[in-house]
Structure formats: C-alpha cells, structure tokens
Symmetry: C2
Subunit: 246 residues, 2 copies
C-alpha cells in the first residue's frame, strides 16, 4: 500500500479516456465503504462531455482541471432516492433535517475517498476540488439535482501527465491525542509548524503575497473570514432550498 504513503494530487492529465468499464468497476468497489444502516446515502454524477465540464467550471473558480480532465465526478449526499423508496413502500420518510444531511454527506465522503484510493491503485491520478461546497447552488442547477440531494465533493480523474513534488504534512504528534484532547500551547504550535514554516516554497509564498507570516497568507488571501461568512450563508440557504433544513 506504499502508493497511499507516496501519493500526490494530480492536476494535469494525458489526453486519454478512462474506459467506462474501468470507471464503473472502481465506483462499484468504492461503494463497499461503510454506509449508515446500509442506506447508501449518495449518488455520483459522471461528467464526460466537454459541454458539461464547461458549465461546471465557473462553480469551481475555473480551475483548469475541470475542463481538462477526461472525467469529473460529483459525489452527492442523497436522501432523495431513499425517501422515494419509502414513499413507494407505505413508509413516511423523515430525512428533511440537518442530521440527515450530515449522515448523507458522511456516506458520500467515505465513498469519495475510497474511490480516490482505488483510482490511484489503478494508475489514475485525482484532484479533490474543495470548491464544491462553496458554490453548491450553481452545481445543483447545472447537474439538475433535486430536493434532498447536495453536491459534497468533486474529483477530477485521469492518467497523470505530471509528477509534482509531494506536499508537506504536520508531524504526527501534532495531530494525535492520547485519551483526551490536550490543547496546544504556543510552544506546541511553534514545534508543530516549524518544518512547514521552514520550507523554501512556503517562504516564497509569503514573499509573493507580500505578507509577514505564512498564516497571514491563509487568513488574508486564501481563506478569508469575509469569504467564509459569505459562503456560510450560501451553504445555509442551499441546505434550506434542498429541503435539509426548515
């Protein structure tokens, strides 16, 4: 399983299609992931057509992977199918609420990661697009997602056409807690972030952005409070519109 340890996200792909049989096999195997009460609260929308990729791209801030990857997968939290089944079987579904959204989102994300592992094990490269939950309303419109369906993750997939450097990770001690959560002192923070802050590429990143610290690049440029608050409102509104919150 060394490929998991050595993995990296791939943003450039060869002009080579992924056979339908292979993609379906990987998805079918991915669906063996744990799922709440075996309800399988997810759906996957497969985008192969150039026209649909072009329509999806703006929701993903026009990141070039969306139009250049042979396949774009949108994993959705889906209580629609299950609720329809209930309605067809003299059962009254009660899944139009926030906990049901989180249950379905969980199911969808476990399957997403399982798919990524299987794709990489088969020589494919993937990139995870976090933008899915920033512009869910646009994706819903483009993919025609009905009530009780929310897009939760987008993966671009293809045969790798680059070999990027592996990105850094925090040391294990910074992420694990034994028995109870031990909150971080400023000394802990210094130690945990030392390696990250010492990397030449991160020092360059600070300079390019005209900031004093790497953390400021995140708070002032990449993931700003005002953006987060705006996107939180879109998220809340979209969850209401999709029937997950009254």
């Amino acid at each position: 399983m060394d490929f998991i340890k050595n993995r990296r996200s791939i943003r450039k792909y060869k002009q080579q299609d992924i056979p339908v049989a292979l993609l379906n096999q990987l998805l079918e195997e991915a669906f063996r992931a744990s799922t709440m009460g075996n309800m399988q609260l997810y759906s996957v929308v497969v985008t192969r057509s150039s026209e649909m990729k072009a329509k999806l791209a703006p929701a993903h801030f026009n990141q070039p992977m969306v139009v250049n990857a042979p396949v774009v997968l949108t994993f959705c939290a889906d209580f629609n199918r299950f609720s329809k089944w209930c309605e067809c079987r003299q059962a009254i579904p009660g899944y139009d609420n926030p906990i049901s959204f989180l249950n379905a989102a969980t199911d969808a994300l476990l399957v997403t990661q399982n798919f990524c592992t299987l794709a990489e094990a088969n020589g494919l490269g993937i990139c995870y697009l976090g933008t899915t939950i920033y512009n869910p309303d646009q994706i819903i419109e483009t993919l025609q997602l009905p009530r009780l369906v929310m897009p939760i993750a987008t993966i671009t997939v293809g045969y790798p056409d680059e070999e990027p450097m592996q990105t850094d990770r925090l040391p294990l001690e910074g992420l694990l807690h034994e028995e109870v959560y031990k909150d971080y002192t400023s000394q802990d923070i210094d130690r945990i972030y030392a390696e990250k802050e010492g990397l030449p590429e991160n020092k360059k990143f600070i300079e390019e952005n005209g900031k004093e610290t790497l953390a400021q690049v995140f708070t002032d440029v990449r993931y700003k409070k005002s953006d987060n608050e705006y996107m939180s409102e879109v998220l809340k509104r979209t969850l209401k519109a999709q029937g997950f919150d009254k």
Copy 2:
C-alpha cells in the same frame, strides 16, 4: 486491492493489542489524504484505556464494540489548532462559521476512510460508528474537546474474531447518473431495490419488527423522523457551543 471489494465491517475482535508503532504508521499514512489548502483540519483522539472506553460507550448507545475493541479512534473536525497557529503568527483567523465546520468535517472524513483502508490492508478489522454525530455533546465532554473541535467519526479497530457475511449493495445503475441527475420513477425504485427486498435476512427483519415493508423498518424503527429532528437540534446546539455557528 481485492480486499476493498471483499471487505466487511468487523464488530468482534481478538483480545490482542494493536502495537503503537503500527497504529501510528497507519495514521501517518492516512494523513496523506487530500486536505483543503493543506491545512489538515482534523485531530484524532486515541482511546486505549478501559476507563475511557467505558465513558465513551453511552454516547455510542452502548454498542459492545466500544468497550471490547483494543482501540477506539475518534476523528474530529479541528479548526482549533489552525486558528491557534494564526493567533501565534499575527494573523486573525476567520473559521468560526458553518462552511469552516464543513471543510474540517470533510478533511476528517477523508482521513477516516483512508485509515480504514490501510487498517484493513494490514489485517485489522474496523467498524464505523455513526453514533458520533448523534451524541457529540457527550463525546466532547468525555474527550475534553475545545472550541472549534467537533467529533465527526468513531472507528473501533482490532484483529478480527468473526467472519460475517458481506452485506448487500444497490446495483450500480441506481447510484450513478450520466451528465445530469435523472430522478427516479417508481419503476426505477422497484428495480433498484428488488434484490435488497428479496433477501431472506431482510424479509426476516420485516417480520421481527412487525412491519409490512422493509422501508417501514427504517422509518418507524431504526431512523425515525422524531429522533432525527431531536438529533438535529443537538447538532445545531453543539455546533454553536463549539464556536462554528453564531
């Protein structure tokens, strides 16, 4: 990668410890999963002591795996560490909002599934406990989780002491959509759920619960609207208490 295709959840474990070095190695490899902006918005609390397992058990409705597994892992959405880093670096964090919760929960769930795959590849068995988000307040108290940390997934881990049957899954056609979401007709529902409804164990399940249809076992017994609405209130209250929603 056939072990993914053939996997099943394991609820009975041998009385055999998992070496610390092995567990740490698997977690470290799991942390190679995609993460938003390489922020690694998660923490893992490792429970090995009998005392702490006993304290966690009620939050998981006393499912016996919690006290019987050698290791219980609670994966948390964590914006605390990142925010503390910002505060130590003259940066003002803006992650006390719902989108930041969902970003961190996503990071945590990708890592959770990656860990499960690696554990199974190494001969361990796992069970995913969906109860984590039903009683987050109890878990927060037990594990002493600070502001901007939410428990999102619990995994029991150990060497398998059972060989359960593999559970069913819906046919692929019921889960995939080409280019746009094609909503389900009642004929689609009949076809997609036919195999599940035909299984002897599911017919027995209906009888044992005194119901007419399998769907009614879900709506009236296992995942009731009133329970979902109650748990949605707990979820909302807990997200506010943890600082993710004003």
